[in-house]
């Protein structure tokens, strides 16, 4: 082993995937198997008691999935990772590793509509309440913390409002109350921002987006820093004997790995939301070009934001960072509908972070489960259109936007544009 601190692009290509020990295969093999044989009954017992390392059953761990986990953990600067079947699954596994009925969560209100719904409906039904507050209002967030609060959750770049989280300030607030900062870093990716370097304790991704990079795969992952003191008395699920695992005390047995071990060995095992080996392989492939793609995504997104900003049909552009942002079209919801229907090259679908440029109307789709008040709080305007800028030629993307704006807004806008 050498002590070199390898760079981001190198780790994006190599971390987690040394040549296959069995065959020398340079690309990580797809271990498409449900289960793994035990060398002996003694070895099986050691594995089931978490006393030795190895694979038992692909619901809990799998070599191809583990390679992806190690690679994204390396890129985020984390201790380790647990991959899940989707971003929402990774989020649920995080909640269930930290909290149980009677507990409370604090969440930025400037987040993905699906996150708000998961916490305010499904997780609430499990007896875990969530308070939502503006991510840029520290006083409101601070007022939302209760004695039974188990985490502060925010998105690096809010979906779709683009509002940026002050991660250092959020981490300081969370840590002053003995709770972890959990950050969804999907829109930034570790190439643009590594939340752990700003004090975050757990980082989540919908790997479906820029990590996959090509819209091929649904996946999610949680990464932990290894720095949070899980034995501080606030997390009995980690620091008291677990009836779910032979009365093991995770903090005592696994030290800094306590959170990751419980997330995998108990929560992922019981929830059953594991990532499939084939999907992990596609995500590994996606990560290899993350640095290259993000440079191009951001370059194209800035060009498109500037293009839209100059158009008379456009009321506002909320570009902050990354490659996903929203803009408002003059004329409101009906004009927004005509605009989307007139596009030829941009794909109208509910996803972001694809090589292909994508468009959607959040108020009637991704955030449609939210009330009017929740929509306003999340920064979703009725006339807002969300773009995920892809890797096509900017001139072609602008040609398509130009056509659609003219079609949607008619002659008036065209004359004003001249």
């Amino acid at each position: 082993m050498n002590d070199r601190a390898f760079g981001f692009a190198t780790r994006a290509i190599h971390a987690g995937t040394p040549p296959d020990p069995a065959t020398g295969s340079r690309v990580a093999p797809i271990y498409q198997t449900a289960a793994f044989v035990f060398g002996s009954t003694e070895e099986a017992a050691e594995l089931f008691q978490l006393r030795s390392y190895g694979h038992i059953y692909s619901r809990i761990s799998n070599p191809t999935v583990a390679a992806f986990e190690e690679r994204i953990a390396s890129l985020e600067g984390g201790l380790g990772a647990v991959a899940c079947s989707s971003g929402l699954a990774a989020q649920l596994c995080t909640v269930l590793t930290l909290a149980r009925s009677g507990d409370h969560l604090l969440c930025s209100q400037n987040v993905y509509g699906g996150t708000i719904t998961q916490l305010s409906v499904t997780v609430k039904r499990m007896g875990i309440d969530t308070t939502f507050a503006p991510v840029d209002d520290l006083a409101a967030l601070s007022a939302g913390i209760r004695p039974n609060t188990k985490m502060l959750f925010a998105e690096t770049i809010g979906n779709p409002s683009g509002v940026l989280a002050d991660l250092d300030a959020l981490a300081a607030l969370a840590h002053s109350h003995g709770i972890p900062l959990v950050v969804d870093n999907t829109f930034a990716t570790p190439y643009l921002c590594r939340p752990i370097e700003h004090g975050a304790d757990i980082v989540l991704h919908s790997a479906t987006k820029f990590i996959s990079g090509h819209g091929t795969t649904i996946g999610g992952v949680l990464i932990e820093s290894g720095k949070f003191p899980w034995g501080n008395g606030t997390f009995p699920l980690l620091s008291e004997p677990s009836p779910g695992y032979h009365q093991k005390v995770f903090t005592e047995t696994f030290g800094e790995y306590a959170f990751l071990m419980r997330a995998r060995a108990e929560v992922l095992r019981d929830v059953g939301a594991q990532l499939a080996p084939m999907d992990a392989w596609l995500l590994l492939l996606g990560l290899e070009t993350l640095a290259l793609r993000m440079e191009a995504h951001v370059r194209n997104a800035r060009a498109i934001a500037e293009f839209l900003h100059k158009r008379p049909e456009v009321a506002w552009v909320s570009y902050t960072q990354g490659a996903v942002f929203a803009f408002g079209i003059r004329g409101g919801r009906e004009t927004a509908r005509r605009f989307i229907d007139a596009l030829e090259l941009w794909s109208h679908l509910a996803n972001v972070g694809d090589a292909k440029s994508l468009v959607i109307h959040p108020a009637s789709t991704t955030h449609s489960q939210l009330s009017d008040e929740e929509l306003r709080n999340a920064g979703v305007a009725p006339e807002g259109i969300r773009l995920s800028v892809g890797l096509e030629d900017v001139a072609d993307l602008e040609w398509d936007l130009d056509n659609a704006l003219r079609t949607a807004c008619g002659q008036m806008a065209e004359s004003r544009a001249l």
Binding site: M1, R4, F6, T10, R11, H14, A15, G16, P18, P19, P21, A22, G24, R26, E42, E43, E46, Q49, L50, R51, S52, Y53, G54, H55, S61, P63, V65, A66, A67, F68, E69, E70, A73, S74, G78, L79, G80, A81, V82, A83, G231, H246, Q247, K248, E252, T253, F254, G255, E256, Y257, L260, M261, R264
Partner: protein, 141 residues
Amino acid sequence: MVGASSNALRPSYTVFSYLRTQTPFNVTPINPTIRDIDGVSAYPSLAAYAKERGAPDVVDVFRRPSELVEVTREAIEAGAKAIWFQYGVINDDAIRLADQAGLDVVVDRCMKVEYARFHGGLTTSGLNSGLITSRWQRLSS
């Protein structure tokens, strides 16, 4: 291993069992309250071990922080080359004592985890081993 327990629920048993079954290390329990762990005879003290078996290479410690100065003295007297304090097993006086006596000292780390880091164990669990290589490390059969 000072403080090795025969109770399968204890972390020390987990580490003992792993080191015994998954590594080439020759690991011996030091614990006056037990006879053996899984057939490996225990010694009541480091002195009793050293008298019969000679100086240990490493003393791995699972004891309360308040007992570590005494354990460290015994390790030095037994001729240990290194002392390893497990997770949460921390005492600054004991660390200083071992350091001054010229022992290699490891603090707040788990020998099982660190062994696994260099032998593929962490890699099976999605943990960041920090290893980057394009050399083929063949499986030995």
